[in-house]
Symmetry: C2
Subunit: 549 residues, 2 copies
Amino acid sequence: MNSKLKIIPLGGAGEIGKNMTLVEYDGAILVIDAGLMFPESDMLGVDIVIPDITYLLEHRDQVRGIVITHGHEDHIGALPHILPRLNVPIYATTLTRGLIEVKLKSHKLLKDTTLHTIQTRDTIQLDPFTIETFHVSHSVPDGIGLAIHTPVGTIVHSGDFKFDPSPVDGQLTDFAKLAEVGGRGVLALLSDSTNADSPGHTPSETTISESFARVFAQAASRIIIATFASNISRIQQIIDVATQFNRQVVIIGKSMQDNVKMATELGYLRVPNGTLIRADQMHQFEMNRIVIVCTGGQGEPTSALVRMANRDHKQVTLAAGDSVILSATPIPGNEEMINRTLNNLFRAGAMVYYDDLMHVHVSGHASQEEQKLMLNLVRPKYFIPLHGEYRHLVLHARVAQSIGIPADNTFVIENGAVVEFDAEGNARVAHASVPASDVLVDGIGIGDVGTTVLRERHHLSADGFLVALVTRDAHTGEIVFGPEIITHGFVYAEISEELITGAKAAIVETLQKGGRGTAVSTTLKEVLSKYLYHHTHRRPMVIPVVTEL
Amino acid sequence: MNSKLKIIPLGGAGEIGKNMTLVEYDGAILVIDAGLMFPESDMLGVDIVIPDITYLLEHRDQVRGIVITHGHEDHIGALPHILPRLNVPIYATTLTRGLIEVKLKSHKLLKDTTLHTIQTRDTIQLDPFTIETFHVSHSVPDGIGLAIHTPVGTIVHSGDFKFDPSPVDGQLTDFAKLAEVGGRGVLALLSDSTNADSPGHTPSETTISESFARVFAQAASRIIIATFASNISRIQQIIDVATQFNRQVVIIGKSMQDNVKMATELGYLRVPNGTLIRADQMHQFEMNRIVIVCTGGQGEPTSALVRMANRDHKQVTLAAGDSVILSATPIPGNEEMINRTLNNLFRAGAMVYYDDLMHVHVSGHASQEEQKLMLNLVRPKYFIPLHGEYRHLVLHARVAQSIGIPADNTFVIENGAVVEFDAEGNARVAHASVPASDVLVDGIGIGDVGTTVLRERHHLSADGFLVALVTRDAHTGEIVFGPEIITHGFVYAEISEELITGAKAAIVETLQKGGRGTAVSTTLKEVLSKYLYHHTHRRPMVIPVVTEL
């Protein structure tokens, strides 16, 4: 039976179905989103993590296209790494397309990519799928969810959503369309689980504006606000409050500048004439007439905010009296860098407003009561929580069960698992899954850093290495060069001379006991490791190199 | 003038005055606490961070002793590393002494240490200091604050405190003593800043018991609760609720077992007969009669909870129906490990209760309103916020200013800074500070891992290393061995054969261009680094070794 409908979540770095989801029917594959994740802290040296597209490459002729739900990195960020290997058409709403174009341009991929603009309440025909789009409110405008009609039934994908009663762009999540689709009958709902451990409702984006206004009303000097480069709604709020308080707005950082330019041109940012100024125009205004918007809300070492905190930003030197607002939630793993940034901002004399102190950020994702509303509107037969870590999926499944979805009809699955629907619309998790490992991007290498390299990096990061070099006469076995020791990341060489001298003596002693070839290298490694552990309680990577000439 | 009174905070890993504080007068130094910090995430391979005691070692004859305020790691954990170099008497209350003895015993240091038991509302004479102790409530019993009377005036050190209205052990923070000391006049207050960014009051420890009871009432199988090994109050709460619900309690983990044994013997834990059982007795009871208490609340890789989550714990195999309570707040930097543990616990089928879902942990530290109460009771002339990151100190100073302490009389200082009081009781920050770097303990090395080694570990952790070996004939310059390449943590060697072959060719080509000695090594390093970056966009540590024989 090839005419089974399949749902396959993909993603990375502990998140399930966040960065990509596949819908497959009768030899046709629809891809939803192509995002990146930031590496987990033990993915040493890795730049980003992208979904595993092995399955798509194996079935490349069947891929109908990629529909993007919204323009955040975790939904579009993998495109530059995937498109060169899988050049398929992309479907996106106007602003989302704009954000994708900014990205593809910087990777010199724009020309070779086919992009289609879609609208909300649009219908896209990608046989055998008929896709209806509906607007969802989130922390970036122009986000959509999808109702994917298939011969077996309708699959609803929520996208990243919240039911914001007063969104910054005035566009509500499309209750009416959801209710209508729900009324026609939905086979399965795939829904955003990010905040499944938050009871109640997520506050509206516009509640932030009140906090901004409070800071603006008090601030005697500059105001600096850090947020994501793609958080167009937050940038709109800043521009609105700045206009109200008669301050000029400076955007610092190329990615944010590009996004602001694009969003303004497309009509998604409303900027009163003369509000935006360049950094080199700041000196023309009093300090209390300036608002600086920049990235750095995650404590990223090269971001503008962190440079300012460390007092090495070219254009902005922080001073007592400055106010800094950190309008972001820490991505788990970034807390320490963020705290360090906060401390340094305070050290520089700024008053800093962050989440513990003031309501300066809200999540863009639905809390439990909104998740229930989505479920109640769509009334699916089956429920597949996606977009979250495993615990969020479990908790989201419990939310679904609390409003009456039978536990047997909820599927908590891992990346690569396949939920199969037969012709009668009965679902089960298929026995076989598709490849779904974390694909690590390091430099220009995609996937060549795997467990072996990571294990070595871990070892090296904790205790460094020690290479011992000896050259012996091939005939006599006498040492003609060495022992020489090269060690880094292990001990501070200058104060450990004695240790190194001892290590050399141990090498000589071991060689004198005889033995040749691999055997002597193995023995040397053991002897050295034991010697070094005894004296330091550390276990550097020990590499003896015995050459015979 | 030698008769100045000095206050000097010490500590580590971004916390100020948390792990140690010095009070000095007229050639006598009083040490308060000797705690450890866990390394920050960029302190690669480091086990713990301890305060810099250079200043104490330089003035070892002047050190009168170490007064410990309570038995948590960040106040006693550095003792095993400090006492061998600075063997001075220790003063501690009964339970705190018990926790210290457990620790010193495991380091075989107990016999050589002089310990004095002190009481709350005790007076210790350590000339020229007269120290009055007063009880403070915290998340471990028997905590104290200090009123240190000096010829210049009285210094009050709050210890770690909260004003818990219903502490687990029934012992309130000693309002009366604080008010009395305040009434006699206080020169300076040094106070706990941990929660200076939390408005309001910290909830009472006993509010947790209600959450525990809710979980116990529902749980159909085993209950597992993770907390700190030294959190004696939380362990008492668990024992109380377990007794109420007729469950046996199993303590897993040596440090927690040792602490429970000691605290029970000293009368600080009240355990009904027959409540505690050993792990090997668990099989004698139904699953729903068991509570397991263990460590792992920070996601520590070797802890019992993490082993259970990863399904490799010898005594406990998690099963569907088990309930797990994580009764701990993440230490910044541990969030990712904790989240991973939570996910794996859910994967193992357990229902997990953590802070976002249920009120299962409270902070042991005062929030802003309690900090104000401390300030109002003590009514100091000067205020020195301690025990927090820099931002907490700034915010605590603002709290003090909000209740009327002049900004000029509040000192926000870094570790090693010296606040000096002259004979008239006028304070200023001295020009010179004392050594106060983070002392990193790695294996048995104390302080031998510094910036150089850490920088190398960072480099190695991100991109690994590549050692290139060539031996040349000393006379002809001809290559007699190599080039050989040793590389780890850089690329997966098997799929990068081409890269390595190219690197060897680049070496041969470079050597053919002539040159000898250091110059040729420098050139080789440049050529190789450039070659490798071009092909990978990575920058491994490149080490050419050219030998001439």
